[in-house]
């Protein structure tokens, strides 16, 4: 309990992340200080309204070495003799063909530089993003991990001790943003598009339903999505920006409410935000202010550290390496890996 610092491998770790549509690499010192973080967000998917797995794999393969080399350069190191102590890589969950690119690259660098390799769970990586910006975390902590692929409330008793206390029963929050954005004729990815549109709207214009107010910490977004679509069809006179703002308000409201309820229920000393939807301004603001009234610490990583990145993988890798040792060079990619 209380303020914990966790034991990590010291030295420089290269983190590699290719689980979905960000090709990313970073160099992190002592599991906490990012010396560099390069994120290439693939643009090829936007016209399809979702990630095309084969295109993602091709883009990762095309960019992987360029991204890694940039991360090494930005850290002030030399690719040929980089003084890197270990390489950490996302092994899952994610798209199989995308994960494989990062794992293959990490193995090659482990061999080339004669350094250990450590496989990292992508979700655990997100939970470690807070360590890049906080010297110590007040445990137990309730972390809201919210992205296009995942919506879950995780009770973190300490690093490595996770309990998923709630999750989405249908769409992930980011997915709901994508679907509503598409319906409203906004672009892809939906999160930033809705956010941009919502800026000009009134979040209280429409009261959309908040689902699963049953005392559980689970979410459901498919009903909300349907409600938005039905409302928009019946009320052609209501502006898109009002609908976008009201939808965003509903999502943020339910995310924050359940997160704080969980924090109370489990006696958490802090709440933290993780995952790509964590870049949403309204979510960041509302979670911060409402957590403060609860009297718990609140950790909101920078937008760059919320989105998929290599630094969080290196941070989690430093901890894994110190506590469990390196992975075998024969490690693979595990598309449906669960949080350890």
């Amino acid at each position: 309990m209380g303020m914990n610092s966790h034991a990590v491998a010291s030295g420089l770790i290269l983190g590699i992340e290719t689980s979905c549509d960000e090709t990313a690499a970073a160099v992190v010192k002592d599991g906490a200080l990012a010396l560099s973080s390069v994120i290439y967000s693939q643009q090829v998917h936007s016209k399809f309204g979702g990630v095309v797995p084969e295109l993602a794999g091709r883009e990762h393969e095309r960019r992987i070495l360029t991204v890694i080399r940039q991360a090494i350069d930005d850290a002030g190191l030399k690719m040929a003799k980089p003084q890197i102590d270990a390489v950490a890589v996302t092994t899952g969950p994610g798209l199989a063909g995308a994960l494989m690119v990062g794992v293959a690259a990490a193995k090659a660098l482990s061999l080339a530089w004669g350094i250990p390799i450590v496989g990292v769970n992508h979700l655990e990586g997100h939970l470690f993003a807070v360590h890049l910006e906080q010297d110590s975390i007040a445990y137990p902590s309730i972390m809201l991990l919210v992205s296009g692929g995942h919506t879950m409330i995780v009770l973190v008793e300490e690093p490595g001790k996770y309990r998923v206390v709630g999750q989405s029963l249908d769409d992930a929050a980011g997915e709901a943003f994508d679907k509503v954005a598409r319906f409203l004729g906004l672009g892809y990815p939906g999160g930033p598009e809705i956010e941009r549109e919502a800026e000009f709207g009134d979040p209280k214009a429409v009261r959309f339903p908040r689902a699963l107010r049953d005392g559980s910490f689970n979410f459901s977004f498919s009903g909300l999505k349907t409600a938005v679509v039905t409302y928009a069809k019946r009320n052609a006179d209501v502006g898109v920006s009002d609908i976008a703002a009201s939808f965003e308000d509903a999502v943020v409201d339910i995310l924050v409410e359940k997160t704080l309820n969980a924090a109370k229920a489990f006696g958490a000393h802090s709440v933290a935000l993780a995952g790509g939807v964590g870049a949403n301004t309204r979510l960041r603001t509302v979670l911060t202010s409402r957590a403060r009234t609860l009297g718990v610490a609140v950790y909101i990583p920078s937008r760059q550290n919320c989105t998929d990145n290599g630094a969080m993988i290196a941070a989690a890798g430093a901890w894994r390496l110190e506590n469990f040792g390196p992975s075998d060079l024969g490690l693979g990619a595990y598309p449906s890996l669960a949080l350890p």
Partner: protein
């Protein structure tokens, strides 16, 4: 000059290490299962057992396809990163070229075929050149075996077919009226010693590329539609 050879383009994965002028050390195994898992440990094994240190590798000879997409990506991502980490260049060679090359003493037209799955083959046409080896006459293409058969028919000459694409779809070529010859199962896949044979002269004349510039020969476009099953299992993670 020592080359490391990497070939993950087909269902037969091959990794090899070769010092110029000596027989190569080669490890092959049927994939594409376990390709990703095996590739690192096998390269390490090749280095250990041949007593060669990684710093002695001068370049990587790499099969860049066409072939199976996932396997190619594993091999090419591995090769690029290894080359980047070691500071060495890459000699990219096509799978179809590797298959055709050993037929350089055959006076027939050579059609090299790699199984492209989904009832299609990747293929290209070659003929022998004086002094050994072959030259490619057509661009790398993808088509159904039946379409390739009618192309062969229009050539109106004796043809030698090499590669698994020929063996697997032998029946589709039975409609061709001129004499057809099939290379045996020994040339069903690109062979690592042949990759080395093609790559050494290129490496000596410094016809290699920087690892970043290596491009996979895909030929077939990606299925440019969102796979909604996959998307539901793992949609855009932002």
């Amino acid at each position: 000059m020592i080359l490391l050879g990497i070939d993950t383009a087909t269902e037969m994965t091959s990794l090899g290490l070769c010092k110029y002028g000596t027989p190569p050390a080669v490890i092959s195994f049927p994939g594409p299962k376990n390709q990703l898992e095996s590739i690192g440990p096998i390269v390490r094994q090749l280095l250990d057992q041949s007593g060669i240190s990684k710093s002695q590798i001068g370049a990587i000879a790499l099969d860049v396809g066409p072939g199976l997409f996932t396997g190619l990506r594993v091999g090419v991502s591995f090769a690029k990163s290894l080359a980047g980490g070691l500071g060495i260049p890459i000699v990219p060679v096509s799978s179809l070229d590797i298959q055709a090359y050993p037929q350089g003493n055959c006076s027939r037209t050579i059609v090299s075929l790699v199984d492209a799955r989904r009832g299609e083959v990747f293929y290209a046409t070659y003929r022998k050149v004086p002094g050994g080896g072959v030259e490619r006459l057509t661009s790398y293409s993808v088509a159904s075996p039946e379409e390739v058969a009618s192309e062969i028919e229009s050539m109106a000459e004796s043809v030698l077919l090499v590669g698994l694409g020929a063996i697997k779809y032998k029946d589709a070529f039975s409609t061709v009226s001129q004499p057809l010859h099939f290379a045996g199962s020994a040339s069903a896949y690109p062979l690592m010693p042949v990759l080395f044979e093609i790559a050494f002269p290129l490496a000596f004349s410094e016809e290699f590329v920087s690892p970043e510039s290596v491009e996979v020969i895909y030929i077939r476009d990606a299925d440019a539609k969102v796979n909604f099953d996959v998307r539901q299992a793992f949609p855009k993670d932002r």
